[in-house]
Subunit: 319 residues, 2 copies
């Protein structure tokens, strides 16, 4: 297969115009300068860029990167109770990139978009000395969730268990065997779109955020935005992650709070609304994971000790 | 001023949340995971990434890069007759970037957004070994222009004269003096938003594209999309560019067709609609530049000779 430097931008765009599944409600032809649609309602938009150097673990394929990049942008919509409809992709790739890698990247992004009910509608292709993919997700919501709205007395919950990316990444970085579920959490993460919509519409959720920066960081962000504190009294530890921690002598508390790139939703529930929220997720075959409560303090506590604010951040002097 | 590596992503985001002019119609607080708005009508979306290595001429400041990146994304909307409303920015910057450079970049993007009537509503900040800025422009249009719709017999026109970026860039690359207008075309380009909206609503325009890839490339794209040919019989040469060409022994035809990064609109006008289109632009104090006609052939001709398809493209084997 040729390299991108042997093909040129126009032929790459032409290929995408001919081979991507364009949505039927587009008001402009594929390949035009912009995408256009009729839209009525609450428009929700988010952009997320994935830079290979900092965001891509070893042995991740181009297809998986495309999938993950879309998942990350869509997860921000999910956390606001929105469903993605349209995806814009902007790629910056090295000239030495193989055409097959380019196709894998775009196909991975398209597969993820379809999984979440959205379609790729436009984008941009650039040459660069380092790979990156920037995904804009546009969606709609009937009811919005915000990260602001939590009050002391609310309950604290998540849509799933944690520790999988921490252990899965540890296995990848150290070439150790791990259960399939852990590797999947790293290489094929899934955004909680249906859960986000269900949480927004059920009426019992006061604030919501996704856990992409790690559970500790997400809780600290919620604490800051709402001027409240959190007491975590039940550690949401995944059982595969727990086994990996035992086998590899890792701290499960560390695995739960500092994994990052997990796309669970972290949310607060108004007093007396627990049953309603449980039923909303049960309709999707999912369970609410209750992990603690909101109090009048500030910060995050587990077993009486403060949970340090220490998540991944770009440009961070301390990691 | 400190470098980004001494600050960390969260403090940069916090700074933007506190200092950017957020629009009042936002349904989520600044700094939440996504931006949200009520929207009804034709939603038009475009993304454009500017990679320093390939897209930034020597001595361009961070402020100018921010301005230009927004202009490039907005120009794609303008060419469809849409007005930008919301801008999402995704930055990938080196850790050694100065905080003052980061501020200049964001301020340049904000100035341009305001100039076009739009507001920055969200974004993403990433660490990378090479600088890039990805801009998503979201807008609305009453009536859409497409690049498809030109027919033989239509007239060919532009919103302005060409040659300024070719000569301005030549001056920058060779450290030669040039008239202010030429440097401005390179360092502070302006998208034709009002013109695009006027052209879309007047009813006489059959197809439209912007000239960001160069006039020759834009005409070839229109030719391909419409299966028509173009005869250019009047060279739209800017007078400052002409003087620079004479002084520096450059070919003005080359300067007009192969400049690129000019954000004029290139459009076709239905027979008999010339007056209507002229009046539509005259209301903005602008003149239509008539440059030729659409015929049944294929390709682009000037003075009986084919105009070669040779514009800037990323990954191009021939430049």
């Amino acid at each position: 297969m040729p390299k991108l430097s042997e093909l040129g931008e126009k032929r790459l765009i032409q290929y995408l115009v001919e081979h991507l599944d364009w949505p039927r409600d587009g008001l402009l032809p594929p390949g035009d300068d912009a995408a256009a649609f009729w839209f009525t309602g609450q428009l929700v938009a988010s952009v997320d860029t994935l830079v290979w150097e900092t965001d891509v673990p070893p042995r991740m394929t181009f297809r998986q990167v495309g999938w993950k990049a879309v998942t990350a942008a869509v997860s921000d919509l999910a956390a606001k109770g929105a469903r993605p409809k349209y995806i814009l992709l902007s790629l910056a790739l090295k000239p030495s990139t193989e055409f097959s890698e380019f196709l894998d990247l775009v196909n991975g992004a398209q597969e993820a978009s379809k999984k979440y009910g959205a379609a790729i509608v436009g984008g941009d292709i650039n040459e660069s000395s380092s790979h990156s993919i920037s995904v804009t997700a546009l969606g709609s919501s009937e009811k919005l969730l915000s990260r602001v709205g939590a009050s002391p007395g609310d309950m604290l919950a998540t849509t799933g268990l944690f520790g999988k990316t921490f252990t899965g990444l540890h296995a990848a970085m150290n070439s150790r065997p791990c259960e399939r579920e852990l590797a999947e959490a790293v290489y094929s993460p899934v955004a909680r779109v249906d859960e986000g919509v269900a949480l927004a519409t059920c009426g019992g959720v006061s604030a919501c955020i996704d856990s992409s920066d790690g559970l500790a960081e997400s809780l600290h962000q919620l604490s800051e935005a709402n001027d409240v504190g959190f007491i975590v009294d039940s550690l949401p530890l995944d059982s595969s992650a727990q086994r990996y921690c035992v086998d590899n002598n890792l701290d499960p508390v560390e695995a739960v709070f500092y994994g990052g790139e997990e796309y669970e939703l972290v949310f607060t529930v108004k007093p007396g609304w627990g049953d309603v929220v449980e039923k909303a997720l049960a309709r999707l075959g999912k369970e609410v994971v209750w992990i603690g409560s909101v109090n009048q303090g500030r910060g995050v506590y587990f077993q009486g000790k403060p949970v340090e604010r220490r998540g991944w951040q770009h440009f961070s002097p301390v990691r």
